[in-house]
Symmetry: C2
Subunit: 392 residues, 2 copies
């Protein structure tokens, strides 16, 4: 549902340089949380030709072999030889990680656990829409599925000449009723071996990636396809483009259909509201739509550093609400405790669950979770009944 007649979203594969950085940051977070759930982690990564630099602030009692983690993530993705431009086994790994500022820490750790202060100021949005079964916008959902499929056919050998780096983009046409109607344009760029001819590549991408993923009823003679429009994409990964943690925040969330507060997710433990409150925002918005209180819902929350209670909670249902918005807000306040400690407890966030979130989106993933990823707690619609009850 949208007021736009067309809407475009993009996604990137796990081999995109920014996503390599996100996955390294979240793999480090997971390794630390597995041993020390009270750790404070803010891990930022930069990848460039031949080097991965890990940085940020970490305070923990755990001992983890950071170098091995970094190398493991890179080779797992498929960057395992100089032939593909990057090799996790032989690249340089530089560690310039520091500790969390004790002055920030004094704001976060309060006498009572319940009163744990937000790890930073900031604003976060949560969103849900009934336009797909996963209650996500259609453009980002299908943009993700395209690059997930690229990864699958690369890994299972269907198209063995594919390399890890890829990007997708989808322009969806919406009808007068605000519902997805057709696909106007598809952009797909994928890294490849030098051996494959461009015409063969284009045909294979259409047959093995695009057709199996995009609903046929949305494709027509009017759909424009841009497949590897530069003509050549052998050089990829960190050689072609420097990668940084937190530089795919729109891909990570709602593909631009929802507003965004600007905070990144990867590498951050859940005491950072940039992550935990954005996850809670999704949970709240999805429960509102699941409860039938609106077809489409966007929630904004904000925090002050060191303060537990949100400084604001605000809701926008774009006129699709079945109950006045201020009453829905009151129900949200009654049903959801949005203090950092309560979010962490209710969504059970102090576990090594983050690496699978770092590619193909943090939201709307339960029906086709990748190997290793269990359903994300923030996708549960377990508060829909409570919301309805609070309204009567």
């Amino acid at each position: 549902m949208t007021e736009y007649t067309t809407f475009t979203s993009e996604s990137v594969s796990e081999g995109h340089p920014d996503k390599i950085a996100d996955q390294i940051s979240d793999a480090i977070l997971d390794a630390i949380l597995a041993e020390d759930p009270r750790a404070r982690v803010a891990c930022e990564t930069m990848v460039k030709t031949g080097v991965a630099i890990i940085s940020g602030e970490i305070t923990t009692s755990a001992w983890v072999d950071l170098e091995s983690i970094v190398r493991g993530v890179i080779t797992d993705i498929g960057y395992n030889s100089s032939d593909v431009g990057f090799d996790g086994a032989t690249c340089s790994v530089i560690n310039i990680i520091g500790k969390q500022s004790p002055e920030i820490n004094q704001g976060v750790d309060r006498a009572s656990l319940e009163e744990q202060g937000a790890g930073d100021q900031g604003l976060m949005f949560g969103y849900a829409s009934d336009e797909t079964d996963v209650l996500m916008p259609a453009p980002i959902t299908y943009a993700h599925r395209l690059v997930e499929r690229q990864s699958k056919v690369r890994r299972d050998g269907t198209l063995s000449w594919l390399r890890p780096d890829a990007k997708s983009q989808l322009t969806m046409r919406y009808g007068a009723d605000g519902r997805p109607e057709a696909i106007d344009a598809v952009v797909l760029s994928t890294q490849h071996n030098p051996e494959i001819a461009l015409s063969d590549l284009r045909e294979a991408v259409i047959e093995e990636i695009i057709k199996p993923v995009l609903p046929a009823e949305w494709l027509s003679a009017d759909t424009k396809f841009f497949i590897n429009p530069t003509g050549k994409f052998v050089i990829g990964g960190p050689v072609g483009d420097c990668g940084l943690t937190g530089r795919k925040i729109i891909v990570d969330s709602y593909g631009g259909m929802a507003r965004h507060g600007g905070g990144a997710f990867s590498g951050k433990d859940p005491s950072k509201v940039d992550r935990s409150a954005a996850y809670a925002g999704r949970w709240v918005a999805k429960n509102i739509v699941a409860a039938g209180l609106a077809k489409r819902c966007e929630i904004q929350v904000s925090y002050a550093i060191g303060v537990a209670e949100p400084t604001s909670i605000s809701l926008n249902c774009f006129g699709t609400e079945t109950v006045p918005v201020d009453r829905i807000v009151a129900a949200v306040r009654a049903v959801f405790d949005l203090r950092p400690f309560a979010i962490i407890r209710e969504l059970d966030l102090l576990h090594p669950i983050y690496r699978p979130t770092a590619s193909y989106g943090h939201f709307g993933r339960e029906p086709y979770a990748l190997a290793g990823a269990t359903a994300f707690s923030w996708e549960r619609t377990d508060r829909a009944e409570a919301l309805k009850a609070a309204l009567t």
Copy 2:
């Protein structure tokens, strides 16, 4: 104008670590563009305790002293001694910059200049609203003015115990007519010398920063102030928090009030549509509102890498339009040429104009430009008449 009853935006000062990185990236871009307007620059920076790392892809015939530029930016901001935690004169400067991939280049440089392909795929938004005289949302406008004022009173000696790192956040209450009505909450955290007592700091921040900037009619006994809520903020800059280019994209644009495509601005020459098309989007949206065609307007454009024509142009006026939206879109298509080459020519983007954009927002700045910044071309309302003419 918004459907939200309250809306929160934040800003950060030029001494915030992510903004240090943005300013370094844009200072490097400027130095190169000054000598070589045909250069291709994608410069990413990481700052952490004692070190600035510059990375990305640059192809140019210019010779510039990158190390001096980096050191100059850091000391200009005010990080000039180990006492404040970071010193541009003595920190390490590490350069791991590579070249633009020739395969990307072959997609961008086409036989005819006019047909210059977009430097990447992507989606970008432009936005304008009549809720302030600069046609920007009020929350981000005042959030910027708070941290700009922090910088001013630090630099002019009014509050000489201030240090460069600061963040602001503002929760605006909107009336039933969608117009700003009151300020619910203000968060301001500023780095400071160890000598100043917290109570003195709070009083001075209220008197010298908040009161001179925020309209008195929006403040009341109900306005909540959170000033240095952690209690202490002596350690700041890159010691307390790793800084990366492109991690303040919501601060850089509309404070979350508009949607965002995810692309960062700083360090990117205008062949990258992430920057040039977002600037053009602001220009288009502002001219639509200036022409009285809508009170509020958001445009989305998207591109395929190597292709000149946008893959989509779409408009949302939130019901505030005075002319049907599809007719406005037709007028936009008639009046604005949104191919990369045309945007660069019309907005005159191949000059060293970028460093001043890298703090306090890329948009809505003409009435109070900082020293050195001239009015930004994308803020001109020079196409409003042409838009109206195209509609008749």
